[in-house]
């Protein structure tokens, strides 16, 4: 069948709901939280209109229960989906470990939202990055199209390596803003994403199992190693699935870091999520003005694209890491990871951390230009002014 995309004007949240529908998810368990709510409302609408078959929506009383229900459904062999934001994700934290530890490929959309207090519903990556060590893979979408594509790929990757995956979109900037999304006809999605083949199921009554059994010190360690092995395997799978997606549907996701005009760049801006759309636009403007700059958008944060980062860092004089997140007592989280990767290598560009856009603070092309001026001055001088720059701070 020839691929003819179906163009729809949808919000990021609706893009996520359509992707879940096209992935033929069998169980959705979720609790509403702003700005995630309309994902679940749209899925409920699909069920009410009879647009989906074999989809069970489980209404729960909290996000902890939502993830618990997803784990049970996934252990029974179902393709399982949920969505949440900020405090809701934090409430799921304990169960996130159960999903990855039991090797259940649940896929979740997290609508990035700042943690309270102060109470906030706006964009900030600290909620998802705080779940860094739970064993979940993390994909950061730049636009509504990447939300849709990301969910479809996440299921395929997760079910190949048997680890859960998060697809992350920006609060309001993507979740509630409408844009054209090219959707894939159902038959072609079915070819790309065949039914799930679970490792084990709890519904094979002739061979009963318990999931999440006690592991004594003699055995626990080996299972941690196996999760790390699966994460390493995931890098290869991400490359293959991203390449296949590109060949079939025209959008290539084979690289875990998307490089934009970096070939001859003196320095690059590195970041994740929707803010990189602004950065790419700024790169075009800055190139016109004579700056040799590029953008490096980190698509997958877990597993971390260390090799790709090294290849990039070898060829530039500076990296400006834009973090819409912060780890208190230290620095931006992507910056922390990037520095860690490069320490034992021969690639040592000047690397500076700009904390931007926390709690939904606007981040514009003009801001990128100011950062470019600052980076150029640092590179010309050959030394950092400050390592961590609270860029927007009212001084």
């Amino acid at each position: 069948m020839e691929y003819k995309p179906i163009r729809k004007v949808v919000s990021g949240n609706y893009a996520a709901a359509y992707a879940a529908k096209h992935a033929r998810v069998e169980v959705v368990a979720a609790y509403p939280i702003t700005p995630q709510t309309s994902i679940i409302e749209k899925i409920a609408e699909f069920i009410a209109n009879g647009e989906v078959e074999n989809l069970e929506y489980v209404a729960v009383e909290s996000e902890h229960s939502a993830m618990a229900a997803c784990i049970g459904a996934s252990a029974a062999g179902a393709r399982t989906f949920t969505a949440t934001s900020a405090q809701g994700l934090a409430l799921m934290h304990e169960m996130l470990h159960w999903a990855s530890g039991a090797r259940l490929p649940v896929v979740m959309v997290d609508v990035n939202r700042a943690m309270a207090p102060p109470w906030s519903v706006w964009d900030d990556q600290t909620d998802s990055l705080a779940q860094r060590d739970t064993g979940w893979m993390q994909f950061y979408a730049e636009n509504n199209q990447e939300v849709y594509d990301g969910v479809l790929m996440a299921f395929k990757i997760a079910e190949t390596v048997n680890l859960p995956a998060m697809v992350i979109e920006s609060a309001f900037i993507l979740s509630h803003t409408y844009d054209v999304v090219e959707m894939i006809p159902q038959e072609l999605v079915d070819e790309f994403l065949p039914p799930r083949k679970p490792l084990y199921t709890i519904t094979d009554f002739d061979n009963p199992i318990s999931v999440g059994a006690l592991g004594t010190p003699a055995d626990y360690y080996e299972f941690r190693y196996k999760i790390q092995k699966a994460m390493e395997e995931a890098k290869k799978v991400i490359h293959e699935v991203g390449k296949e997606f590109g060949e079939r549907f025209g959008r290539d996701y084979s690289q875990m870091i998307e490089l934009y005009r970096t070939d001859d760049a003196d320095f690059v801006f590195m970041g994740m999520g929707s803010l990189m759309g602004t950065v790419k636009q700024a790169v075009d403007v800055l190139r016109e003005e004579g700056y040799k700059v590029g953008a490096a958008k980190v698509r997958w944060f877990r597993p971390f694209p260390s090799e790709e980062l090294y290849e990039l860092a070898k060829n530039v004089k500076g990296i400006a890491v834009l973090d819409r997140n912060f780890s208190f007592g230290q620095e931006g989280i992507l910056f922390n990871e990037a520095k860690g990767v490069l320490y034992n290598t021969d690639a040592h560009p000047i690397i500076k951390n700009y904390i931007v856009g926390l709690g939904g603070r606007d981040f514009t092309v003009a801001d990128v230009r100011k950062i470019a001026e600052n980076m150029k001055a640092i590179i010309d001088k050959g030394e950092l002014d400050v390592e961590v720059d609270w860029y927007h701070l009212k001084r």
Partner: protein, 105 residues
């Protein structure tokens, strides 16, 4: 008997896996522990009287381990490698077909 976590050997109280490659991909097992048989935690042992048993399988449903299995003849048996001797089966049995007796070791 395959436990999904190595082969259960006659008289063994523990399955010892020597290499990470021997481990299954996901930590699933028959009992509530991965490789330790919990039968040696027991002080009291359930003894089943087949004559009183009405095959209601309430004990099978309630066993938290699950150490109770259904035998080929339809009556119930106990996997003593996993039974911790908690006595829930005896407590729940409607015909008092299960009694807990002090185990001689």
């Amino acid at each position: 008997m395959n436990t999904l976590f190595g082969e259960k050997k006659e008289g063994a109280t523990k399955i010892v896996l020597k290499s990470v490659d021997e481990y299954p991909e996901a930590p699933v097992s028959l009992g509530t522990t991965l490789s330790n048989f919990t039968g040696d935690w027991r002080t009291f042992i359930p003894v089943i009287d087949d004559e009183k048993c009405v095959k209601c399988y309430i004990c099978w449903k309630f066993c938290p381990e699950p150490a109770i299995f259904i035998r080929e003849d339809g009556y119930v048996g106990v996997d003593y490698d996993y039974c911790k001797g908690c006595g829930i089966c005896a407590n729940e049995c409607p015909t008092k077909a299960i009694t807990m007796e002090k185990e001689e070791k």
